[in-house]
Every structure is written in structure tokens, then in C-alpha cells.
């Protein structure tokens, strides 16, 4: 994805979150957003093929016999 399309994508996400930022902040946030996407892709590759459902808050704290 090009820098411009990444920026455009991020602007849409900001709008959906009802947030406005100035141009300098937008440049920084777009760069950080691109880094987050790389992390997201890494996580997606791990869960690919996992058949267990998402952890719920309850199952996150359920850790066996007390």
C-alpha cells in the first residue's frame, strides 16, 4: 500500500473515531499506523487456522483451580 493510500485509510479511521488532528500529527500518526498494521498482520498470521473463539474477559481471568 502506498504512503498516500495509507494516509487516506488512516484519515477514514480517524473520522470514524470522531477525531480531528492537525497536519503534523497526521503525518506522525500515519507512520505509526503503518507500523501497527505490520503488527496486525503478524498477529493475523498466528491466529490463521486457530479454531478456538476469541478470549472473553471471563476466560482471560479463568486460570484453573484456585
Amino acid at each position: 500500500m502506498s504512503d498516500e493510500s495509507t494516509k487516506a485509510e488512516f484519515e477514514v479511521l480517524l473520522q470514524l473515531a470522531d477525531l480531528t488532528v492537525d497536519d503534523d500529527e497526521l503525518r506522525r500518526l500515519t507512520t505509526l499506523h503503518a507500523r501497527m498494521k505490520a503488527t496486525r498482520d503478524r498477529l493475523r498470521s498466528v491466529v490463521l487456522g486457530e479454531t478456538e473463539p476469541a478470549t472473553t474477559l471471563v476466560s482471560a481471568i479463568e486460570m484453573g483451580p484456585r
Partner: protein
Amino acid sequence: MNERDLAYLQIRQVLALLESGDISSEEVTAAQLARIAALDDRLNAYITVLHDDALASARQADTLRRAGERLPLLGIPIALKDLLATKGILTTGGSPMLADNVPDFDATVTRRLAEAGAVLLGKTNMLEFAYGYPNPEFGETRNPWNLAHTAGGSSGGSVAAVAAGLAYGTIGSDTGGSIRSPAAYCGVVGLKPTYGRVSRHGVLPLSWSLDHVGPLTRSAWDAALMFDAISGYDPLDPASAPGDAPPTLDQLDEPLAGLRIGLVEYFFDRNVQDSVRAVALEGVALLECIGAVIEPVTIEHVELVSPVIWPIVQAEASSYHAVNLREQPEKFGPATRENLRLGSTLLATDYLAAQRIRRLIIDATNAALANVDVLLFPTQPIVAPVLGTYKMANLQSEGILEKEIGHTGFGNITGHPALSVPCGLSDVGLPVALQFTGKPYADGLLLRIAHQFEQAFGPFARPPID
């Protein structure tokens, strides 16, 4: 006893002096307040100091003791991270957003410590809303071992206060390592209890599925005393673990012979400074000397701790702060604001992918703990960074927070209890610490191991702050 020696006593020793009548709580509290006045300009550990209220509370403790009352922390001066609600006392969360916030109630931990007889000295400095960055208006807490270095965060004020003898014990919170990381950097004991064991009611949340509250002290015995005072079921915290928390203090001297410790090799390698590794391995050798059996352990997916924890923290924190982020963003510090904005743009599927991998890491951790009693690795791969390290994200490279959270965030993701105990000084004279991770609700075992490790290690050095 001179004032410096008095300031560095452990809670157990102060209790003995109070019990014998050799000193009063009022005298101990006055000495602590004088030390705060003398040193805190350099450390920046406190946001609020309660001079008159602390002395009044100490006098009341002395009256109770003379009347035969024997509460576990009666007359002991302590401090709280400034995100625990304190009735009638400013509670800022380290942010101008809450510059005028005076709660009309006590957090459950605040109340339990008061019921145990503790004297509240004040509220300690912290990274803004415990997120990982100091707000410029509050500034960073300096490390008592070297004032050019940070105390770490986010409970840096609580840790520096204990390390420098400005409180006998404090309370911190820990979402990705905020108790254990600064504890390691400043050479004190920090316990992140099992998730649900200590109430978060009245504690400003950062990320509620990862947040924990726990004690910071100069010994494991003191940590056990404070933990016993604050732990146990609380109906006001929806994640509170049901049932009584068994006392830990009376287990501390039970023998450790045959204890199986799993050395997590990945965490002895990942980003670990040579000097940190060398000091940590000396600690491992000492554990063998007191009867522990060390064996290498691998845990599947632990390399994903940092990538997994960030989306969870970002999404949950941005949800909590959503209204203020839209309506008064200028009141957040720039780095906190930036992260809250990033978190607001995460997709639900990314958050859930992280939660799904979290489940895999929990399962892998439980599998590893089926064969050993506890897991062991350096609390942090590095010693305390220089001041100014916690700042706006570097756009070109991984930041210090990612390095830190990769080690300590493990315990937050799984919810298992984790304890940091100092084990020596690095080649640059800064503390290094070992971290023990136990099975769910094995908080007492961690305190027991740390206590006996301390007995074998001997007294830990004092920082050169005065």
C-alpha cells in the same frame, strides 16, 4: 540510630521499635516527612504530601497502640500511587486532566490499608494515566541510584519513595510491568499479584483486562505483610477473585528444598544486556545454593508478548478515555494523546486477534508450569534508562517501552502472579532484578522464594542519594 538508618529500616523492624516503645509513630512519620522535604526536590517522587494529616494519623496510631490495639500496619508510614482514590485528597493520575480531582470515596486498597493502621504520607508521582509517558507538568521521577536515570514507570514515584527511604512501603499498579519494571530499576521488591486477587475498585483504569494493584517494599517480608492487608475478594471489583486470600506471611520460612524453577531461556536472551544477564545468572546460582532445582523451559508464543499486549492496552485505554480525547485533548500530554488516538483507530478484529493469541500464551504458560513450580527470568533486560527516554514514539525504530513490556507484559497477559526481587548491581552501578512467575494464586510461594533469596543474598545496598 541516625535518621538515615531509621529511614531505611524495613517495616518489620519499625513495627518492633513501635512495639517496644523505643519510638513512636509520630516520630517515625515526622522523620519521613522531613526526609521527603529534604530529598524530594531531587527525586520528584511525590505529587501530594500530607503533612498535618499524616502526623494526626500517626498520633492516633500511637494512641491505639498504647490502648492495646495491634493492627498489622499500625503506625507505619506508607504512600499510594496517585491513581488510587483517596477521600478528600487530590488524585491526579499524573495528568492535568484531573488536576482538581478530589474523590469523595476511598479505593478499596486505600480503605484496607487504613483499616490495617497505616499512616498515609502522600500520593506518588506516576506516568500519565499509567500509560508509559510522563506528563510535562508533572515531570519524570529520578532514580535514587543515579539521578540522571529514570526511576521507570509507571509507578516510578512509588518505587523511588521506597528505594530512597521516603516511605516504608507503597502501592503501585501494573498493566504491562509498572510495578515490577521500576522496582527492578530502583532495587526494591515489587509484587504483581494474581489477576483478581487485589481489588482495583477506585483505581483509575488503564486497561482493565491487564490492570493489577500490588505492594512495593524493601523486603519480601514487608511485601507479604502489605499484600495480606490488601488482598481478598471485593464485590466492588467485577474481576475480583471469589474467596478468601490465604495469608502469606506465615509461609515465608517454609523450606524451599526441591523447588523446581523453570529458567525461561528466551527471556535471558531477548534484548538482554550482558551485565544484566551476568548478574541475573549469579542470582540463579544462589537459588541453587538454597535448594532450588533449575531447569530450562521454553514457552510457545512468548515472543508475541509485546505485539499482543499493545493492541489490548491501546484499545481498552482509548475506550476509557474516549470522551476526554474528543472534548479536551489538550489536557493530555502529547505522547499519551498520540497513543490514545492510535488506539481509537484500531479495528475490533485486531483487538480480538490479540485476545485470541493471549489465550494461546496463557495455555502455553500453564503447560510450562505443569512441570515446574515457578518460572524465572530477569525482570527487565536492561538497567534503568536515562531520563527522557519515555517520550514521543520514535518513528524509525522500536522504543524502550516495547523492550520493557516484552519481559514484564508476560505476567499481565496471563494474569499469573509475578514478583521482582533485586539480585545485584550492574557494571554501571544500577540495580538488576530477577522475576518469578507462579501458578495462579501462588502469590505466597513467590514471596517465600523472594524472602529466602534475600536471606541468602544478604542486605541489599542503599542508593547513594544522601
